[in-house]
Amino acid sequence: MLGRLLARARPVSAAARGGRAWTHSGAAAADGGSVCADEVAKFGQLSREWWSRTGAFKYLHTMNPARVRFIGGILADLGVDPRGSSAVDVGCGGGLAAEALGRLGLRVLGVDAAEASVGVARAHVAEDPMLAERVAYRVATAEQLVREGAVFDLVASLEVVEHVADPARFVESLVRLARPGAPIVVSTINRTPLAYLLDVALPEYVLGSVPRGTHDHAKFVPPSDLQRMLADCGADTLAVNGLVLNPLTSECHLVDRDCGLLRDAGVQANYILAARKRA
């Protein structure tokens, strides 16, 4: 057990994901959605660091392959061929996940409320000539897309829900963006003492690897809460896995939710969840 704890004793993720937040413009805020203006400003300022593997978002770079493998596995389980399917990445930030999903073969729309992040994402994907036409970005919120009536074969929102003002409403928008029967994948951080240690205290105050104030422990979301929010708007949970960093290899691994009789032992900090919208 100590080993397990130590394995996580380095910040598993810590870093924030693209602020699901309003743009600085008052117009967007007026829509009264789930977004939080302070968060948008925060990620806008950090946007230049999105693609630095040593910067504020380095843990996201580490986590990304594991998150995308999880999503690829869910698509395979549901018999969805990524080629020819559409996906939306809500709160795409600099486009780390959107590009990776594009490489799986999906047509991806990345949206983020922070204009600066979307600018970075656009510039970065333009450097990849094999991806540029499969991945597009917009400054938008989930609610905006819902109002436009957009639906997708996959809805992903990774490391975002812990940054929004109204998680329940945010989750509802995610579900409305999914085609009936389509998967919704959300990753975030559990509200536990361990998560405070690994995702706030260590990275922000001890190691200084993540800017202070990136995460607010009070806004972390336990998996059971997330499952309930999803179920309330018509999406049943398919799978929940923990995301654990191996500090020796700096690689991130998917772990089971439960460890034998220890319920939720694997999802004490970062986790990823897939649900399916009822048909």
């Binding site: 990304n64 392959p65 995308v68 690829g72 590009e99 490489r103 799986l104 656009r122 450097e127």
Partner: protein, 471 residues
């Protein structure tokens, strides 16, 4: 949507370049390069194996580029009465890997000899070691048979394009729009742009030069003389004898044929390559049986231009004496006698030790001889190359599943971390063996032969040795 933003940019840059006068015509005919996830330069065994392995990455576009006539190799019809001298020894582990990829079964399997026993002897000290394993330890195959089979298997993979008879005339970094992806220009005018460029183009790799990866190492001042031998008996054992002039190896082919690999210095190489074919067969028999002083005497006769009959009589007489001696009693340690060599089968290659600073650079990875050259005395050259292929393919598969950019530094660094040190270690071991066996001083010779005899009596240690080289 991205297109709409990009195309005006392109127009602007073209117009600017048009004004540069001299470039105008070239640009006008130059279409945008074809885009690939991975471009493998070099259609040898390592390049083909990698293309075959990556053929299972659904949705990834792979190109295999070679200057040679791969089509001829693909349609090669093996001669019924001999084997080609260019041959490879493949370990059981690597054969299994190729079989899993579906690259092995397309070869002419009846032309591949599985063997489990290797006998290594030392001419100077008289030591011997008999490396016998229960199961098949390695396979001897003609290079063309293996590559042809792999090419036929690759034909069935829709995501792999094979571009043959296309010499690489230039490699450059793309302009900033594609984040410096390498662009390979071919003699036929085709231009391929790659997320990841793999150099499987051998010892004098162009890809390695383009990437600016430095090499260092030493010349062994030796040449490898290879030939196809016809034996008097069927044989399923590999034999190697360390002579003062360098190691000589006889490796089994089916039907009583064998592959000869003889390492020689430049002068001896010239001498033996020019020797009449009928004499050459006798020279091989002598090399595995006679004492160094006797061999020296025969080589002196050859050097002095003795005629064929004299040479043959001299060799036959000495072999007769040997056959009646006590040393010949240990027949199990001797290869069957060579009856003849396949006419005109003698060919050669230089022997070098070459190491690289790194197996990777920006969007570039090296596999096979491009990344390491070793002395063929342990038959490890291609086996190290196939280990590279296996390692790189595994990391690329994982990266693809995680949506990673296959040419990203993080991905390539995983390959380099795993392979670089192991490659250097293997090169070091083979070089040490070479140096220990290259020594002619009597005490060294006595010591190494004692060590071989000692090792021969320690089965556990012997098994580990076999394991280290064979699997």
């Amino acid at each position: 949507m991205r297109r709409a933003v990009l195309s005006p940019l392109r127009t602007v840059s073209w117009r600017t370049l048009d004004r540069a006068g001299g470039w105008r015509r070239r640009l006008a005919t130059q279409a945008a390069p074809e885009l690939y996830d991975v471009v493998v330069v070099g259609g040898g065994p390592a390049g083909c194996a990698l293309a075959g392995a990556l053929g299972s990455l659904g949705g990834k576009r792979i190109a295999l580029v070679d200057s040679g006539k791969l089509g001829d190799t693909r349609q090669w019809e093996p001669p019924g009465d001999t084997y080609l001298p260019r041959a490879l020894q493949i370990t059981e582990g690597n054969k299994e890997y190729l079989a899993r990829l579906g690259l092995w079964d397309q070869c002419y399997l009846d032309r591949i000899q599985a063997y489990s026993r290797a006998v290594v002897t030392d001419a100077l000290g008289g030591g011997a070691i008999d490396l016998g394993a229960e199961e098949t330890a390695a396979y001897m195959t003609e290079t063309k048979n293996l590559v042809g089979g792999m090419l036929r298997a690759i034909d069935g993979r829709r995501n792999v394009s094979v571009v043959e008879r296309a010499r690489v005339t230039g490699i450059e970094r793309a302009p900033a729009t594609a984040a410096g992806w390498p662009v390979v220009t071919l003699a036929n005018g085709q231009r391929l742009q790659a997320r990841l460029l793999v150099g499987a183009d051998g010892a004098s790799s162009r890809v390695r030069k383009f990437a600016g990866i430095d090499t260092y190492g030493s010349e062994y001042a030796q040449y490898g003389l290879v030939a196809t031998l016809c034996l008097e008996e069927l044989n399923r054992t590999a034999f190697q004898r360390f002579l003062p002039s360098g190691p000589v190896a006889l490796l089994p082919f089916p039907g009583g044929f064998a592959n000869l690999v003889w390492s020689l210095d430049a002068e001896m190489f010239q001498l033996l390559r020019a020797a009449p074919e009928a004499v050459f067969a006798g020279l091989v028999n002598a090399a595995f049986r006679l004492a160094p002083a006797e061999l020296r005497y025969i080589y002196d006769l050859l050097r002095d231009g003795a005629d064929e009959a004299t040479l043959n009589a001299e060799i036959e007489w000495r072999l007769d004496v040997f056959a009646k001696s006590a040393a010949a009693a240990a027949t199990a340690k001797l290869p069957p006698r060579v009856a003849a060599i396949t006419p005109k089968s003698r060919t050669s290659f230089p022997l070098r030790l070459r190491m690289v600073d790194s197996l990777v650079a920006d969007r570039v990875a090296l596999v096979g001889d491009a990344g390491h050259l070793v002395h063929p005395l342990a038959g490890q050259g291609l086996n190290m190359g196939l280990e590279d292929v296996r390692c790189l393919a595994t990391h690329l598969e994982l990266a693809a599943a995680g949506g990673e950019d296959l040419g990203a530094p993080a991905v390539l660094e995983r390959y380099n971390r795993e392979r670089y040190a192991r490659t250097l270690a293997m090169q070091g071991i083979i070089d040490k063996v070479w140096r220990v066996f290259g020594a002619r001083a009597a005490p060294v010779a006595a010591l190494r032969s004692a060590a071989m005899d000692g090792l021969d009596r320690l089965p556990a240690l012997k098994d580990r040795l076999i394991g280290a080289f064979m699997s």
